[in-house]
């Protein structure tokens, strides 16, 4: 494989004068299941292989993707990519350059206790069925239960024109579980995700019975929840919501491509923008975490990147192109979903560092507010407006957590909100998730419980 990919890169550099060329080949096997209630909708198995070619010619990018390892097809694809890049370069004002990266020659093997590729389809169906049966059996008001399961195993090959050559195993196990309940005309919905790069042993840590019950319990509890009043309130956010806040509200703004695109963090590096209690990391090194890997899709080793320390912005997440523009080091955040797309800056495991408050201390001073425990969706805008939807929340009245509330969301301006965090818990939890930025990336996020003095809460009553 190395020889083939080197040969293709050489065509780009020698025949078309590319400044840089990289070839990523992938061979992947996937197993997918969807079970609705006690019905297996389909058991699915997929095989994919293909090559992504990226070249930098006269300061412009050319990219080609083909589902083939055939030399002639790859030669024609790389020639196409070079010609198109050359054409686009005619309109360039600022040619693209890349920050230096270490030349790497390495081979990375995954070492799961239980390799999903070795588990029989029957066993995977059994695990998924247990999740659904537990959920449906929890309460007769549970009306539907769906589990989507995916495992992916395979190998990525990376070769660039600077002499790097990396062979890296890929292994993901993922599931999404959703349940709905109906009683007296009230509909509720609850979901959870599970994801790991460790192996199928993730189901030993989170047994299917526990997963099914967790989702069902929330859907039932939401039946008696009330719609809440919109307005500004103090809130306590659980680790699951804090994770999404760190990822959506701050993380995306700290992606250097979005900072360059006009995001509000571009000129804030080294400046204090939030309360002393705020320290965030984006970390690709946590073993088994859904966002972890050793090398990114530009061949740069992953790292634990400090984004903000005690309220001061310390750095951004970079690929080689943005690192050059900011005179920074690449941080190993360039990720491509597969060989069909180009690597772009993506988060890994993004979290807030815990401090010293207990949950009781966070809640006790709040006269009228909310405790938001679990999220459903979140989104951010470059102007710093964020929104996080809530699937599980409770009223706080006179320092006590009370009645559940339904379908709320919180919103605000990220920088203002970071200044309003006035209590950070000592607990810590990470949750796996998926992030959409044109492509899907497997990520992880989390943190401790926190208290925010004031945030806009959306509700319809």
């Amino acid at each position: 494989m190395k020889d083939l990919l080197t040969k293709i890169n050489n065509i780009a550099t020698q025949k078309f004068g590319a400044q840089y060329a990289e070839a990523r080949a992938q061979k992947i096997d996937k197993t997918m299941l969807t079970l609705k209630e006690e019905r297996v909708e389909a058991a699915k198995q997929g095989i994919e292989s293909g090559v992504a070619l990226r070249v930098l010619v006269n300061g412009a990018w050319g990219f080609a993707s083909v589902g083939s390892l055939d030399v002639a097809i790859l030669e024609s694809a790389v020639s196409d990519a070079c010609r198109m890049a050359k054409m686009a370069s005619s309109r360039l004002k600022t040619p693209i350059r890349l920050a230096e990266a270490k030349v790497v020659n390495d081979s990375v093997r995954s070492k799961p206790k239980k390799n999903p590729a070795d588990i029989q389809m029957e066993d995977k169906i059994k695990t998924a069925m247990t999740v659904n049966r537990t959920g449906l059996g929890y309460d007769k008001r549970i009306k539907s239960f769906t589990i989507d399961y995916l495992d992916l195993t395979g190998t990525n090959y990376f070769v660039n024109s600077e002499g790097s050559s990396i062979e890296q195993d890929k292994m993901y196990v993922w599931a999404r579980i959703a349940g709905s309940a109906l009683s007296e005309g009230v509909f509720t919905f609850s979901r959870e995700e599970l994801g790991s790069t460790a192996g199928y042993e993730v189901f030993d840590e989170q047994p299917p019975e526990v997963l099914g019950e967790k989702v069902a319990k929330r859907a039932i509890e939401q039946l008696s929840a009330k719609s809440l009043k919109g307005g500004k309130f103090p809130v306590v956010l659980g680790p699951n919501v804090v994770g999404v806040f760190v990822h959506e509200a701050f993380g995306h703004l700290a992606e250097a491509d979005l900072a360059l695109a006009g995001g509000v963090l571009a000129d804030k590096i080294g400046r204090k923008i939030g309360s002393d209690l705020i320290t965030f990391y984006d970390d690709g090194t946590i073993e088994g975490s859904f966002g972890s890997f050793k090398y990114d899709d530009e061949g740069v080793q992953t790292q634990k990147t400090l984004l903000i320390k005690d309220g001061v912005v310390t750095g951004l997440m970079h690929n080689r192109e943005t690192a050059q523009k900011f005179s920074a080091e690449p941080t190993g955040n360039a990720r491509a979903e597969d060989f069909r797309v180009e690597p772009i800056i993506r988060m890994r495991c993004t979290y807030m560092q815990p401090r010293d408050h207990s949950f009781e201390e966070l809640v006790e001073g709040i006269k009228q507010g909310y405790y938001f425990k679990s999220f459903r969706g979140g989104q951010a805008n470059l102007d710093g407006t964020f929104q996080v939807g809530i699937q599980e929340g409770y009223e706080i009245v006179n320092g006590e957590v009370g009645t559940p509330v339904r379908d709320a969301s919180i919103s605000g301006n990220t920088l203002e909100t970071l200044n309003k965090v006035d209590g950070v818990g000592k607990d810590f939890l990470l949750d796996p998730g998926r992030c959409g930025k044109g492509q899907t990336a497997f990520i992880c996020d989390g943190g401790p419980h926190i208290r925010v003095k004031e945030v806009v809460v959306g509700g319809s009553s």
Partner: protein, 454 residues
Amino acid sequence: MAVLKKDVMLSLAENTVAKALKKGTLEVEAYVYEGQATNIGIEIGQVSKTNRIIDRGLGIRVAVNKAVGFAYTNVIDDTDAVDSAIANALSAAKASKPDPDWNGLPQKKSYAKLEKTFDDKIVELESEELVDVASAMLDAASQVDKRVFPIEGGVGSAYISNAIANSNGISGFDKGTVIECSIATLAKENDTVTPVCFEFNASRSYEVDPAWVGKEAAKLAISALKTKSVETKSTTLILTQFALQDLFAYTLINAVRGDSVQRNQSPFKGKIGQRIASENLTIYDDGLFPGGLRTWAFDGEGVPHQKTAVIEKGVLRNFLYDNYSAKKEGKDSTGNAGRAGYLSTPSIDTTNFHILPGNRTGEEMLKEINDGLIVYYLQGAHSSNPVSGEFSVVATPAWKIKKGEITHCSRGVMLAGNIFEVLKNVSLVGNNERQMGQLISPWVQVENVRVIGK
């Protein structure tokens, strides 16, 4: 571009069915997909990237004693890879469990002749010309005002074809083209950054107006620079197509899917023939709409596309079905089996979700509003409750309408409510129809929506 010919695609589908039948299964379906796309990308104010993507593949669905298995491969020029995909589909079916509600694959029906879904000019486009289109769009945006930053966007042309065959004799081929140009801009002044303002053109024929796209996106961004807060209250809203598409995708569309209804996930269960929305609202799912972005001869399992009345003058008429969910009720599929290329099994999706236009222009709609908001983009629509239809989202941004005029922009405005209440409160539908993804719609005016100001 060199594309796979109709007979190559069809014979791969048909031969795969024949081979699988010999391996002992009675029910098999083969779906062959080819997509070729060329994109010219704009990043941080310049045309700086290009890509060319060729994606082909084969998806095989089999049923063995009512247990369904599926396998796919993107290696289709290699007999061994196709054979092992057939074997994988069979082994998956054998590992799976019988489904008593499985009533077979669809039967053969004839397909309609389509209009405006394929344009030779798009297939033959040279990438030089696409670079010109991208540059024209970029220049138009930059020329509006020097406070505008075009941040990303591009021009893409695509050719898509698919072939399907099944053991009931279905054999179909269809091809289509799309061209799209889009730009995202924001405006910056001192310390103020506006939300991202986006415009686009998308068409099945080579008909795009890049200068209009660039100019409109830039004008919106500039108008979002000066902001004032709005008060918390219930108010009149004009929802533009951007907002409608986002909101409907995560709420209403779930509620009209036949499988959601069967699984008690839709408040519309048992309400066919009943009034569920304002009489101003008529919605068709029209898979044959001329030039529609989702117009194809057949759906993901070879069932002909059709035009289905969903809501007529506020009365619920039909749900949307694929073959499985339709047969479960003894009905016929409405041709709504969606499919993510060759990578997935079919699942129910809209084709072109068409909100029928009224007779008021956008300008007339604005003029008649004494106090309200117009909303372009929403943030967080995907966090809506897909079952109950409750939403709590941010308008990024909203523009205030006072005495018939747009007076100022407001940031961080939250909108909260229930989509099924919104449908009842539609007071007016405009005539300014446009296509956006699966939606074909004019502006829609809604009364009494809860707005939480900042």
